[in-house]
């Protein structure tokens, strides 16, 4: 019985969301607002159990690490975001978190630039590696705006657009397939798990 009620609730809410394909309607709006509330409500106990208890409550109150009272007080300053006169206090926890950008400079340079360059600098021993090399260089030059894209240089950067179009097409195809597999999952749930029309 519980399983039937559970499936019925899930099916109804699924249909409420799908009703948006016809047009915006009260059923969709109800489901949409319910989703926001449930998602936020779902996060609260999880943050409490997985973040507040192990990193604030347990170290301070059970292990006696009283230094952590300072960051906890800094964290409380977030709440002042909503006050008119003291909203500037919320900048302190943000600033503490933003300090990590110092690590971001060498890390992004390493992971996104140097590693990519190292992988691009392979021996050109076949047509594929040549194509990858030409594609990478032409795309990088396409994003170099300090020189006008004219003449031979413009023609070469134009090759970069073609490569990017193929890349965007591949990403688009992958995204569509991911969404369609989700759609198939929902249809299988309604027709298979709930109605038993497909095995």
């Amino acid at each position: 019985m519980l399983e039937f009620i559970s499936n019925l609730v899930a099916v109804l809410l699924t249909l409420f969301i799908f009703s948006f394909l016809y047009k915006d309607n009260p059923f969709y709006r109800f489901a949409e607002h319910l989703l926001v509330g449930v998602s936020m409500g779902y996060a609260i106990p999880l943050v409490y159990i997985n973040a507040f208890i192990p990193f604030v409550y347990r170290p301070i109150f059970l292990e006696g690490n009283f230094w952590l009272i300072i960051p906890s007080c800094i964290g409380i300053l977030y709440i002042f975001r909503f006050t008119r006169n003291l909203s500037w206090l919320s900048r302190y926890p943000i600033a503490f978190g933003m300090g990590i950008v110092g690590m971001g400079v060498p890390m992004s340079m390493h992971s996104s630039v140097l590693v990519q360059m190292r992988n691009a600098m392979l021996p050109i021993d076949n047509i594929n590696t040549l194509l990858i090399f030409i594609g990478t260089v032409s795309i990088l030059l396409y994003f170099y705006f300090s020189k006008p894209h004219k003449g031979l240089y413009g023609k070469f950067t134009n090759i970069g657009i073609w490569f990017m179009m193929v890349g965007f097409g591949a990403s688009f195809g992958y995204t569509v397939m991911a969404r369609i597999s989700l759609l198939i999952g929902r249809v299988q749930f309604i027709l298979g798990d709930f109605l038993g029309l497909i095995k």
Binding site: F18, H33, I44, P71, G75, W88, P93, I100, S111, I161
Partner: protein, 206 residues
């Protein structure tokens, strides 16, 4: 006090992190561990900000009886009931909290994402109607990659999955590598601007 001290904290910590990356020593490891433990103690309070924000937005709508205020009641009620069920009965298997997740949150979010399949298809039709040679290439690449993922593609011709794989491994790799390098340079430049105090928008306005 209002802007200068937070800015000094960002710049000071930022340069210490640069030093931490380039100078491996016990002191730099200790500094990193200290920052992580403090950040973990600060982060749970950010959720309070989100809850308060949601309550303020929807509470104001209800109070002013704004158009469609009834839906705001649904949002707040759902939030309170879900959170309460998590605190009252725990978050383990078989609790009302997980029931809400499995039968309310999960089906709705999966359906919400699956809706995009329809909108992506209609947007693609409008955007790519093969208006230019480049749009045609995009459309073709997307079509081949999609067909390469499903059994019907291989049933039509064995070349379709192979071509799809070639597109992913060669032109797509070149495109991703070029874009990733550009993004990396952009991230480095933005991080440097924050580190040197040129970029301050994260502090908000007065």
């Amino acid at each position: 006090m209002k802007r200068q001290i937070p800015l000094i904290i960002v710049i000071g910590l930022g340069f210490l992190f640069v030093a931490h990356t380039f100078i491996p020593s016990k002191t730099s490891v200790d500094f990193y561990d200290w920052w992580v433990s403090w950040s973990k103690a600060i982060s749970p309070f950010a959720v309070v900000l989100g809850i308060l924000s949601l309550f303020m937005v929807h509470g104001t709508k209800i109070q002013r009886k704004a158009p469609n205020w009834q839906y705001s009641v649904v949002t707040l009620l759902a939030l309170v009931v879900t959170a309460f069920s998590g605190f009252a009965w725990g978050t383990n298997e078989g609790t009302p909290f997980l029931w809400l997740f499995a039968n309310v949150q999960m089906p709705m979010s999966a359906t919400m994402f699956s809706l995009l399949a329809f909108y992506i298809a209609s947007a693609a039709y409008k955007a790519f109607r093969a208006k230019s040679p480049q749009a045609t290439v995009l459309l073709l690449a997307a079509f081949i990659v999609m067909m390469g993922q499903v059994p019907i593609g291989a049933a039509i011709s064995k070349w379709i999955p192979e071509t799809a794989q070639w597109i992913l491994n060669v032109p797509n790799l070149a495109a991703k590598r070029g874009i990733a390098t550009g993004v990396g340079l952009g991230m480095t430049a933005t991080s440097l601007k924050i580190l040197l105090g040129i970029e301050r928008t994260y502090l908000g306005s007065d």
